[in-house]
């Protein structure tokens, strides 16, 4: 058991070392950290405090020294709106992914660990949900719960756990038979203890990878749902809203709203995707160099 724990630690230490040596991963990590910092500073009112300041005389001003990304319909600074939109995206990304990972991990763990009838039931559940077109399922959830930020997180979380469930399930199936689990059983550990204390930490790298994948999915879903009129409450800065407003604005030659939201989103999603790849390589070295 001790040796297993050590092995676990070395896997993580190893991974961190590998990540550190990967310049691309470090750049991505920095970008993500900067986004986090920016949204924190925005939320606490340190930077971009003018995101809600309207000046109707200054509507739709093109980018200038004063407004780097121009102004929107109400004369609000687009750059500040986009920066504040990060908060919405990070909230949706975090809670959406966290919910999905939580559901996926718990169900996957139960299915993989117990097998038999429980496994059959959970496999049936996720096959069913998987069969229903994703976007329609999200839309149906939003309809039932009414629009808003909470719904957005819930709908995304409740619909995107399947992938994680599958991965965790097969991982648990593998681990279930391993010596260290058998050893724990011999020492009298209960099912819950075995699942959560013994096996789960050994699949944690998968949880992490999946979380970061889920994050990207959630951020992208927010845009589509906003376009469908199921996004956050009007007035709340969000990239999805900015992009769907562009549908009207482009034909006024107002491109900066779309550009700002797209750029902000682009770097965050790209950094997340690249970092996720690096993370996977670091945690799962077999795949490296392929």
């Amino acid at each position: 058991m001790v040796s297993i724990a050590n092995k676990g630690r070395s896997l993580w230490a190893d991974a961190v070392l590998r990540l550190r040596r990967d310049p691309l991963a470090m750049v991505c990590f920095t970008i993500i950290a900067l986004y986090l910092l920016m949204s924190l500073l925005c939320a606490t009112g340190v930077i971009f405090t003018d995101y809600n300041v309207t000046d109707n005389a200054q509507a739709y001003q093109p980018p200038s020294a004063e407004h780097w990304m121009g102004t929107d319909l109400f004369g609000r600074d687009v750059m500040a709106r986009a920066a504040h939109g990060t908060i919405t995206s990070l909230i949706v990304g975090f809670f959406g992914a966290a919910l999905a990972v939580a559901i996926g991990t718990i169900l996957g763990a139960l299915a993989g660990y117990f097998g038999g009838k429980i496994d059959d039931l959970i496999v049936w559940l996720y096959t069913t949900v998987d069969t229903i077109p994703y976007i329609l399922l999200v839309v149906a959830f939003s309809f039932v719960m009414g629009p808003g930020l909470n719904t957005l997180c819930l709908a995304i979380g409740l619909t995107s756990w399947i992938r994680f469930c599958r991965v965790i399930r097969s991982e648990f199936m593998k681990h279930r038979e391993r010596e260290y689990v058998q050893g724990a059983t011999a020492l009298g550990a209960g099912h819950l203890r075995r699942i959560f204390i013994h096996i789960l930490p050994n699949t944690f790298h998968l949880v992490l990878i999946n979380f970061s994948l889920g994050f990207v999915t959630a951020i992208k879903s927010e845009v589509i749902l906003s376009y469908l009129g199921m996004g956050v409450a009007p007035g709340t800065p969000s990239w999805g809203m900015m992009i769907s407003d562009a549908k009207l604005e482009l034909f006024r030659e107002v491109w900066w709203g779309l550009a700002a939201a797209t750029l902000f989103m682009f770097f965050l999603v790209l950094a997340f995707t690249l970092f996720n790849d690096a993370l996977r390589d670091a945690l799962d070295p077999k795949l490296k160099n392929r």
Binding site: L125, T128, I132, L136, A140, L258, N289
Partner: protein, 311 residues
């Protein structure tokens, strides 16, 4: 083989049950009062009671559920709340336009991505490979809404190469309107497909048979085309088959932007108007066609790889 297919088909029954159950729970139990939404303006309480009766909402839940199953079995989903048109008629009318965008896009995208990703796999870890991979990751980091917006604005509005939107059901007119949606659809799938196919091919290149072939002195090109492509096509085809049901249901975004009277547009309109029966019918149809193609995909896979059948 037939036993496998039979077993696999038998397995569809509980899934089918699951699909109908989830749909029923979402729309009939949790989704508010359908009568109030169907009734529209000037709905007095008496009128609501009447509509509830017409819709069978006063019946026990089990009976309502069985009614839904019957609708599905007979492909008669009743009428839309908003237009009062027969839903099955709306669906039949929408399949053609949806397919005329999605099918060419699907074929075109495969014709581009498969050879391209094979080439990348051959040149893996070179600058071209890495550059393309980053480009692909960049492509998938942009929201699909932006592709549609930008495509319509620049290619149709600014440059005037294509009509901005519309549809002409005659065959020669159709391409005029379908071309830009097809191109946007291809560009939407490009990034993800290339990344996926490349991974598949790279995986194949590490297989023993490649080493054996190489040791026999086969040229690189020959190995790629004869072995890697052939073997790599197995996971690719099985994955690709699973995209076919989405070809039928069309793209919600693209059809709504370009005014294509397909199933995606139908869904979009139904969402805008909270037209539950239409959304419900589309959920059921989408789910079932996905299930069917999953079966086809599994059977194809089993045909190629007999080991699967035993599991």
């Amino acid at each position: 083989m037939w036993r496998y297919v039979a077993r696999r088909m038998l397995y569809m029954i509980p899934i089918l049950f699951g699909i109908t159950l989830v749909t029923f729970l979402l729309f009939n139990v949790a989704g508010g009062d359908p009568a109030a939404q169907a009734a529209g303006r000037y709905a007095t309480p008496e009128r609501l009671a009447q509509i509830r009766e017409q819709m069978g909402l006063d019946k026990p839940l089990l009976e309502q559920y069985l009614h839904m199953v019957k609708q599905l079995a007979t492909f008669d989903f009743g009428r839309s709340w908003s237009s009062r048109q027969e839903i099955s008629g709306l669906i039949w009318a929408g399949i053609g336009p949806s397919l005329s965008v999605t099918f060419p896009a699907f074929v075109l995208s495969l014709l581009i991505t498969i050879p391209f990703s094979l080439l990348l796999a051959a040149k893996r870890n070179t600058a071209i490979d890495k550059g393309t991979m980053v480009t692909c990751l960049g492509l998938i980091s942009i929201s699909s809404v932006v592709y549609v917006l930008a495509g319509q604005y620049f290619l149709a509005y600014k440059l005037g190469w294509f009509p901005v939107s519309g549809w002409d059901p005659s065959w020669d007119g159709r391409w005029q309107y379908a071309t830009l949606p097809i191109l946007i659809m291809v560009s939407l799938s490009l990034g993800a497909d290339i990344l996926f196919f490349r991974t598949v091919f790279v995986e194949e290149m590490f297989q023993d048979y490649v080493r054996t072939a190489r040791s026999k002195g086969l040229s690189n090109a020959k190995i790629l085309l004869k072995h890697v492509l052939k073997n790599g096509m197995v996971p690719i085809i099985t994955a690709v088959v699973l995209q076919i049901p989405f070809l039928i249901t069309g793209s919600l975004l693209i059809e709504s932007f370009f005014g294509i009277p397909g199933l995606g547009g139908l869904i979009y309109q139904a969402i805008q108007e909270a037209d539950f029966p239409v959304i419900k019918a589309m959920v059921l149809i989408g789910a079932i066609s996905y299930m069917v193609f999953q079966l086809i995909s599994d059977v194809l896979y089993a045909l190629v790889d007999p080991k699967i059948r035993l599991s």
